[in-house]
């Protein structure tokens, strides 16, 4: 498989100033990250607030400039492109944001919002624009007659569908979704996740999902990278990382997700303390101050990502006690699955749905 996107040793720091504007140091938001995303793959970047995952997503699209490192997209080093070439490249990469209320211009109708990238990148002749917008709306499960409406007339889920249609307009190869379903209620979130999965499969999209929600990640990602304080601590196939996490932080993160084992089951001890300040991260391994297994070596040397296709950055990874297998919890059993099938069967692919409403 060829890599569509390749990041090498990316770094970006943001200066921190005090109330008088004097430099007080820097937050190293992303600090030496290498990642490769294969064509057609869904890669998730997970971590808690402040771990650098959103900054990494923006660096990958060169929406913000890295201090160091390389971004190769479709074989080109994005950092060496001049502004005009970069603009042309942009049609192949799009970003979907968390907040569908903030990401759509309130003064543009749906038709204008979705049509703008078509015009910007000269995707279709002007005369075909309206048809293409209708096609895009149908594809995300919205009736084309909604094209003349304004963003405020839509619910959160519908707005996120509009944002997705807009992102698809330029026929991109790569989409980065920064918490694309986090602001939505569970039932609406499920609709948008199903839509995203259909689109990824049908359009053979490469998708980078930035998320803090491990359930969502487990559900749609092929591969996962776990970040902590600006660095990747573990990376591997989703199944492997969730079944047998190798880094103590990944283990703690997975154990902290509620709803696994029930109230009386043996629950993992919650991780103590808060994430240290990224202005002054701990020496050596950045997780060591909260790690129950930390030894002297962890303070001395920064661990590197090691272990092949499922890698972890931990000095002790081969000596850790085996990870607790995820608790099987299937409270509702076969009965619940059969009842839920009545809900699942009704959701058809967005293409057929569009066809029936046009």
């Amino acid at each position: 498989m060829t890599a569509l996107l390749e990041l090498r040793d990316l770094a970006r720091a943001f200066p921190v100033r005090d109330a008088l504007g004097r430099a007080r140091g820097a937050v190293r938001a992303v600090d030496g990250v290498s990642l490769s995303v294969a064509e057609g793959e869904v890669l998730a970047i997970v971590g808690e607030s402040g771990c650098g995952k959103s900054t990494l997503g923006r660096l990958a699209l060169r929406l913000i400039e890295p201090d160091a490192g390389e971004i190769r997209f479709m074989g080109e080093d994005l950092r060496t492109l001049n502004p005009a070439d970069l603009r042309r490249r942009r049609r192949d990469m799009q970003l979907i944001f968390q907040d569908p209320f903030a990401s759509l211009d309130p003064r543009m109708t749906v038709e204008e919002a979705v049509g703008e990238p078509l015009r910007l990148h000269g995707i279709v002749p002007r005369a075909q624009e309206r048809d293409r917008v209708a096609e895009l709306l149908a594809r995300v499960g919205l009736r084309p007659e909604l094209a003349r409406r304004w963003p405020h007339e839509f619910s959160g889920g519908q707005r996120q569908r509009i944002a997705i249609a807009r992102a698809l307009a330029s026929r991109p190869r790569l989409i980065v979704g920064d918490e694309p379903v986090s602001a939505l209620d569970v039932s609406v979130q499920a609709q948008v996740i199903n839509l995203l999965q259909d689109l990824i499969a049908e359009l053979r999209l490469t998708f980078v999902l930035i998320s803090h929600d491990l359930g969502v990640v487990r559900h749609i990602a092929d591969r996962v990278a776990v970040m902590y304080l600006g660095r990747i601590v573990e990376e591997g196939p989703t199944e492997a990382v969730f079944r047998a996490p190798r880094h103590p932080y990944t283990r703690a993160l997975l154990a902290a997700v509620p709803g696994q084992g029930g109230r009386d089951g043996a629950k993992a001890v919650p991780l103590e303390g808060d994430v240290p300040s990224p202005i002054d991260p701990p020496s050596g391994c950045r997780f060591r101050t909260r790690c129950p297994f930390a030894e002297a070596v962890c303070a001395e040397r920064m661990p590197l990502l090691e272990g092949g296709s499922h890698a972890a950055a931990c000095h002790l990874q081969d000596r850790l006690p085996p990870a607790r297998p995820p608790a099987e919890h299937d409270a509702g059993g076969e009965r619940l699955r059969r009842l839920q099938a009545f809900f699942t069967d009704r959701s058809t692919s967005p293409i057929t749905k569009g066809a029936t409403t046009t």
């Binding site: 808690e48 607030s49 619910s155 889920g157 209620d185 569970v186 039932s187 609406v188 979130q189 499920a190 609709q191 996740i193 199903n194 999965q197 803090h212 929600d213 491990l214 359930g215 969502v216 487990r218 559900h219 749609i220 989703t238 199944e239 969730f242 703690a252 993160l253 997975l254 154990a255 902290a256 997700v257 509620p258 709803g259 696994q260 084992g261 029930g262 109230r263 629950k267 919650p270 991780l271 103590e272 303390g273 808060d274 994430v275 995820p326 099987e328 919890h329 409270a331 509702g332 059993g333 009965r335 619940l336 059969r338 009842l339 839920q340 009545f342 809900f343 699942t344 009704r346 959701s347």
Partner: protein, 327 residues
């Protein structure tokens, strides 16, 4: 079973709005026993937070409450504003999703906890501050003496939520209402805060009303659950029973819509459509327009009918098991 600390009977809330009155809570009944946690689950707009504000007497001016809210046998809706003020903070306490908006930025963490103690327990300022530091230590704020002298902006999100909990529990309330207490927090911090609430509840016998949209949180921390949809209770059951044997179609859909850590399902259960407009709700069962099991009879409102062992469901088609035999 001991007498409930809180009991709601057929509570309705009517809010005045520019476009006429709105009824976000429409006939809600449930009860919470001492030392137990009742979770109220539902999506935005289902009425769960308005129900909490009604209990606390914190609804906007001009709102009307119908039905009965009994707290330790006393009817709260009959109390005047001053009597309610005396109850809040002392016997009834509430913590919110975003601690930054509920803490006063101009006072230190210690001062804010101490204020609650001075107001409701007649302690001297010095004694109140000592107790406040003690409370901050109890909610496991490291180095509590120093932290007590810090202002909210100097504390992390998890730390601020601990200060809120310390404030809420300082006077050992009979009832704690926690409205999405961990939604703004990271998952590892969320686990710490919820464990803390459980621990303090076991210690003090406080009843907890936990308002959340997260079914995982419900599974780990609730004794009983009320599932709300569009202002009404759709289903009520002991927690384990609700997850093992849900009887309302909305609960079934909701359980299938949340992706699980074990993976599994290729597609998530998708509840088509959106929640109804409360200005113009559908007649009868409010979930019917989105329900795959709806029949003609659903145009009439179904009562909350017993399904055995403290389990109630407001659905004409419940128990749903017969649908599987036919399928």
């Amino acid at each position: 079973m001991s007498a409930p600390v809180l009991e709601l009977r057929d509570v309705t809330v009517t809010l005045p709005t520019d476009r006429g009155p709105l009824r976000p809570v429409d006939g809600v009944s449930f009860a919470v026993a001492p030392g137990k946690t009742l979770a109220v689950v539902g999506e935005s707009g289902c009425g769960k937070s308005v129900t909490a504000l009604a209990i606390m007497g914190l609804l906007p001016q001009g709102s009307r409450i119908g039905g009965a809210i009994r707290f330790d046998g006393q009817e709260l809706t009959a109390l005047d504003a001053e009597a309610m003020r005396g109850k809040r903070g002392a016997e009834l306490a509430m913590i919110f999703q975003e601690p930054m908006t509920s803490l006063n930025p101009a006072f230190t963490a210690g001062e804010q906890v101490a204020e609650a103690l001075r107001l409701h327990q007649n302690l001297s300022p010095a004694a109140a501050m000592d107790r406040a530091v003690e409370m901050l230590a109890r909610v496991r704020i490291p180095d509590a003496g120093r932290r007590a002298r810090q202002y909210p902006h100097q504390l992390s999100g998890g730390m601020r939520q601990r200060v809120m909990i310390a404030m809420a529990l300082a006077c050992r309330p009979r009832l704690l209402i926690a409205d999405e207490p961990t939604t703004a927090l990271d998952v590892t911090v969320q686990a710490q805060i919820l464990a803390l609430i459980d621990e303090l509840k076991a210690e003090t016998g406080t009843a907890v009303l936990l308002i959340t949209h997260d079914l995982g949180v419900v599974a780990d921390h609730a004794d009983e659950v009320a599932v709300m949809y569009a202002g009404r209770v759709a289903e009520r059951a002991p927690a384990a029973r609700l997850f093992a044997n849900p009887q309302h179609p909305y609960t079934v859909g909701l359980l299938g819509a949340a992706p699980s850590l074990e993976g599994g399902a290729e597609r998530l259960a998708s509840i088509e459509g959106t929640v109804p407009d409360l200005r113009n709700p559908p007649p009868g069962c409010r979930f019917a327009p989105r329900c795959p099991f709806a029949v003609a009879r659903c145009a009439e409102q179904p009562p909350l009918a017993p399904m055995g062992e403290g389990h109630l469901a407001a659905c004409w088609r419940a128990p749903l098991d017969s649908l599987l035999v036919a399928a």
